[in-house]
C-alpha cells in the first residue's frame, strides 16, 4: 500500500481504545486499531491500478476490460466495420476513476492494438517493453529528486494480461517470445481468450499443454513461485497456478436467463454466461486481479520488478564512485521508444546537474 511509506499518524485515528482506568491492567494494547487507521487512510487516498492488455486483435481484450470493471472503460467495437487494425504497434492508455462503496480506484488500462497482426511480427514486443521501462524510469526520476512529491504518481504497469488465441494446440512462437521477455519485467497473467470456442475437455488439454510449454521455456507467470512468502501463500497460489491460464469469455451485453439478468453472449444454441463457472473461468480472473491479488500485484511490481530496474539503472550509471549514497544517473538509453511517448524533462535535468555540479542528488 502507498500508505506504508508514511507512518500512520496517531492524530488521525478515530477509533481510540477507551482509556483504561489508572488502576486496571488493560487486556489488550489496541494495536488492531492500526488496521482501521490504514483502511481509513486508504479510503481517503484511493488506489491506483495500472493494467495492460496484450494480444492479437479480435481476442476480446476491450470487452474483457469492460467486463472486469463492469463499466464501459472502453467503447468496444463489434468485429466488422469497426476499428481498422493499425499498421504498426501502438500503445494508448485510458484512465478512469471507478468508485465502489466509498473507495475510489484510479484504473489505467493500456491497450496494444496491432500486436501480432502483421505479417512480420519480429520484435513487436519491443515497444511494449519500452513503455513498461519508461514508466519505471519516470517513477525512478521522481524518486531520486531532492524534494519529492508526497505521493509519487504511479504509472507503472502492475499487471499485463496476455491473451492467448484458442488454437487448442499449444503456445505459438510469438507467444513464447513475448512471454519469455516480459515475465522478467512485469507481472504477466496469461489467459485463454475467446474460450467459448473450446469444449471443457479441449480446454483442459490446451491448458496442460500450455503449462508444459511455460515450464519447458522457464516462463514464470504471475503468481510467481519464487515470490511466495509463507506456506499460506504457497497453498493459495498453488491452487491458482494449477488453473493458469484461465479460459475466459468476455461480454458486455446483458441477457435474461432463468429470471436473472446476466452478462453473456447469445448464440443460436445457448447463452454463454460470463459469470458462470461452469461456462468459463472469468470469475477466477476477476477474483485474482481485483478481489484477492490486486495489492499483491502492486507490491511485487514495486518491491521486485521496479527494484530490479532501479538496480540495473544505478549500476549502469555509476561512473565515478564518490561515496556510498551518491548517485549519478546517465541519460536514458533505452533501445526503443513507444509511439507518441513524451519524454519527461527528468532525465535531462538530472544529467545536466550531474555533469555541471557534483551535487548530492539523492
Amino acid at each position: 500500500m502507498d500508505t506504508l511509506k508514511e507512518s500512520p499518524s496517531p492524530c488521525s485515528s478515530r477509533h481510540n481504545s477507551p482509556r483504561p482506568a489508572p488502576c486496571e491492567m488493560p487486556a489488550t494494547v489496541g494495536i488492531e486499531a492500526v488496521l482501521d487507521q490504514l483502511k481509513i487512510k486508504a479510503m481517503k487516498m484511493g488506489f491506483e491500478f495500472n493494467i495492460m492488455v496484450v494480444g492479437q486483435s479480435g481476442l476480446g481484450k476491450s470487452t474483457m476490460v469492460n467486463t472486469l470493471f463492469k463499466s464501459k472503460v472502453w467503447k468496444s467495437a463489434l468485429p466488422g466495420p469497426g476499428v481498422p487494425t493499425p499498421q504498426t504497434l501502438q500503445l494508448h492508455s485510458v484512465s478512469h476513476v471507478i468508485e465502489e462503496k466509498g473507495l475510489k480506484l484510479k484504473l489505467t488500462v493500456t491497450d496494444t492494438p496491432g500486436f501480432g497482426d502483421q505479417i512480420n511480427n519480429d520484435k513487436c514486443w519491443e515497444p511494449i517493453l519500452g513503455y513498461i521501462n519508461e514508466q519505471y524510469e519516470q517513477y525512478l526520476q521522481e524518486e531520486i529528486l531532492i524534494t519529492r512529491q508526497r505521493h509519487i504518481p504511479d504509472t507503472r504497469v502492475h499487471c499485463c494480461v496476455y491473451f492467448v488465441p484458442p488454437t487448442g494446440h499449444c503456445l505459438r512462437p510469438l507467444d513464447i517470445e513475448f512471454l519469455q521477455r516480459l515475465c522478467q519485467t512485469v507481472n504477466v497473467v496469461p489467459v485463454i481468450a475467446r474460450a467459448d470456442s473450446l469444449t471443457i475437455e479441449e480446454r483442459e488439454a490446451f491448458r496442460s499443454r500450455i503449462q508444459k510449454d511455460l515450464k519447458s521455456h522457464c516462463i514464470d507467470v504471475y503468481p510467481q513461485k519464487r515470490f511466495d512468502e509463507d506456506p499460506n501463500d504457497k497453498i493459495l497460489n498453488s491452487k491458482i497456478r494449477e488453473r493458469i491460464p484461465f479460459a475466459v469469455v468476455g461480454a458486455d451485453q446483458e441477457h435474461v436467463v432463468n429470471g436473472r439478468c446476466v452478462l453473456g453472449r447469445k448464440t443460436n444454441w445457448g447463452i454463454i454466461e460470463v459469470e458462470n463457472m461452469a461456462h468459463c473461468e472469468f470469475p477466477l480472473l476477476r477474483d485474482l486481479l481485483i478481489r484477492s491479488h490486486l495489492q499483491d500485484l502492486k507490491d511485487i511490481t514495486h518491491n521486485i520488478h521496479y527494484e530490479n530496474y532501479r538496480v540495473v539503472r544505478l549500476n549502469e550509471s555509476h561512473q565515478l564512485p564518490r561515496g556510498p549514497g551518491w548517485v549519478n544517473l546517465a541519460p536514458v538509453s533505452l533501445a526503443s521508444t513507444s509511439a507518441g511517448q513524451v519524454t519527461t524533462s527528468g532525465p535531462s535535468k538530472a544529467h545536466k546537474r550531474a555533469q555541471e555540479e557534483p551535487k548530492y542528488e539523492f
Binding site: Q56, S57, G58, L59, L78, P79, G80, P81, G82, V83, P84, T85, D117, Q118, I119, N120, N121, D122, P165, P166, T167, G168, H169, C170, L171, R172, P173, L174, D175, I176, E177, A193, R194, D196, S197, T199, I200, R209, K212, D213, S216, H217, R265, K266, T267, N268, W269, G270, I271, I272, E273, A278, H279
Partner: protein
C-alpha cells in the same frame, strides 16, 4: 421401330457409366493458420479420418518449424462411385513470428503441379496422366480477427489466379449471429477492395424454378461460409437422433444445422454440385492461363529465329509443343536447337549457292 428416335439421348448415361468406371480424382488444398479447425472440418466434410495419426507438435518444435506441404490420399466410395481424394495440407503456415513470404512454397507447389501436367500433356504417352493439380483451395479465415489479416490478403493475392479459392471462416461457433454477418460483410468488402477473385459458383440455369433460384442466391449470399466441424456424435436433449456436433455446457452446436453454421452449404456446394465444375475451371481457366504464360515466356527469347523455325515447321500442320523440362533446361535446349537450325540453314544456303553456280545461269532451280 420408331423412325424419329435415333437414340443418342442415351449418351449421358454412357458417360455416366464410363466415369463411374474411371472414377474421379479430386485434389483439395487447405490453408490457413493453425488452430482454425481445418483438420476437423476435412474429417467432417468427407466423413473420414484423414488426420487420425496426426500429432500436434509441441511449442518447442513449432519454434523451428518451417512451412511444409503434406499430401494425404483417401479413397471414398459412395453409391458405387469411387473418388480418390487427395488432400494437400500446409502445416506451419502463419505460425512463425516472421511470416514474410511464407506463402511462396505453396505457390511454387501449385505451379509445379501445373508444370508436371504440362509436361505430361506434351509427352508421348498420354494414356495415364495423373492429374495432381490442385482443384480447390479452402482458405480458413480466423473468426477472431476483424476481417482479413495482412497475411490472408498476401496469400490470397498470390494464389487467386492459380487456384480456385473458397474462403471459409473456421471455428464459427465462437461468433454470435450478428457478429457472423458483420464479419462476412467485412470480408466481402475487403475481397472486392483488394480485387481478389475467389471461385465464383456458376449461375443456375434460367429454366430452373424460382424456388431453386432463390435457394441458390441465398446460398451464394452466405459466402464466405462460416463453418464448424466435428467428428463426434452427440446425443443432445432436444432431438432423439444422434447428430454430429460440439457439446458445450451452455448448449450443443449441431454441425449440420443450417441455423448454427454453413457446413451443409459448404458440403453441398463443394461436393454435391460443384466438384466437376471446380475441376473444369482448374483445367480450362487456370491451367490454360498458366500454360499460355509459360509458353509465351519461352517464345520470347527465340523471337528472332522465328522465321527459320517456321520454314521448317511448314511441313508439320500442327504445332508440336516441345517436350518440356524444367524451365532452365528447356531454355538451354531451345538455344541448342536454334544453334542447330542456324547451322543447318547455313549449310542449306551453301548448298543452294553451289547448285546455282553449277547450274546454267538463267535457270532458276526450285528452292526448298
Amino acid at each position: 421401330m420408331d423412325k424419329e428416335y435415333v437414340g443418342f439421348s442415351a449418351l449421358p448415361s454412357q458417360l455416366h457409366r464410363k466415369s463411374v468406371k474411371k472414377g474421379f480424382d479430386f485434389t483439395l488444398m487447405v490453408a490457413g493458420e493453425s488452430g482454425l479447425g481445418k483438420s476437423t472440418l476435412i474429417n467432417s466434410l468427407f466423413l473420414t479420418n484423414l488426420y487420425e495419426d496426426r500429432q500436434v507438435p509441441e511449442a518447442s518444435a513449432r519454434l523451428t518449424q518451417t512451412l511444409t506441404i503434406e499430401r494425404r490420399s483417401v479413397e471414398i466410395e459412395e453409391g458405387g462411385i469411387k473418388v480418390k481424394l487427395t488432400l494437400v495440407d500446409t502445416p506451419g503456415f502463419g505460425d512463425a513470428v516472421d511470416c514474410s513470404d511464407c506463402w511462396l512454397p505453396v505457390v511454387r507447389y501449385v505451379e509445379e503441379q501445373f508444370e508436371q501436367y504440362l509436361r505430361d500433356e506434351s509427352g508421348l504417352n498420354r494414356k495415364n496422366i495423373q492429374d495432381s493439380r490442385v482443384h480447390c483451395c479452402l482458405y480458413f479465415i480466423s473468426p477472431f480477427g476483424r476481417g482479413l489479416r495482412p497475411l490472408d490478403v498476401a496469400f490470397l493475392r498470390a494464389m487467386h489466379e492459380k487456384v480456385n479459392i473458397i474462403p471459409v471462416i473456421g471455428k464459427a461457433d465462437v461468433l454470435m449471429p450478428k457478429e457472423t454477418q458483420a464479419l462476412k460483410q467485412k470480408i466481402r468488402d475487403q475481397l472486392k477492395e483488394e480485387q481478389i477473385n475467389i471461385y465464383q459458383f456458376p449461375e443456375c440455369d434460367s429454366d430452373e424454378d424460382e424456388e431453386f433460384k432463390r435457394q441458390d442466391a441465398e446460398m451464394k449470399g452466405r459466402i464466405p461460409f462460416a463453418v464448424v466441424g466435428s467428428c463426434e456424435v452427440v446425443r443432445e436433449g432436444g432431438t432423439t437422433r444422434p447428430v454430429r456436433g460440439r457439446c458445450y455446457s451452455w448448449g450443443t452446436v449441431e454441425v449440420e444445422n443450417p441455423h448454427h453454421c454453413d457446413f451443409l452449404n459448404l458440403r453441398r456446394m463443394l461436393v454435391q454440385t460443384h466438384l466437376q465444375d471446380l475441376k473444369e475451371v482448374t483445367h480450362d481457366l487456370l491451367y490454360e492461363g498458366y500454360r499460355a504464360r509459360c509458353l509465351q515466356s519461352l517464345a520470347r527469347p527465340g523471337a528472332r529465329d522465328r522465321a527459320s523455325r517456321s520454314k521448317l515447321s511448314r511441313q508439320s500442320t500442327t504445332e508440336i509443343p516441345l517436350p518440356l523440362l524444367p524451365l532452365a533446361e528447356t531454355e538451354k535446349l531451345i538455344r541448342e536447337k536454334d544453334e542447330e537450325l542456324r547451322r543447318m540453314q547455313e549449310m542449306l544456303e551453301k548448298m543452294q549457292a553451289q547448285m546455282q553456280q553449277s547450274q546454267v545461269p538463267g535457270e532458276q532451280s526450285d528452292t526448298l
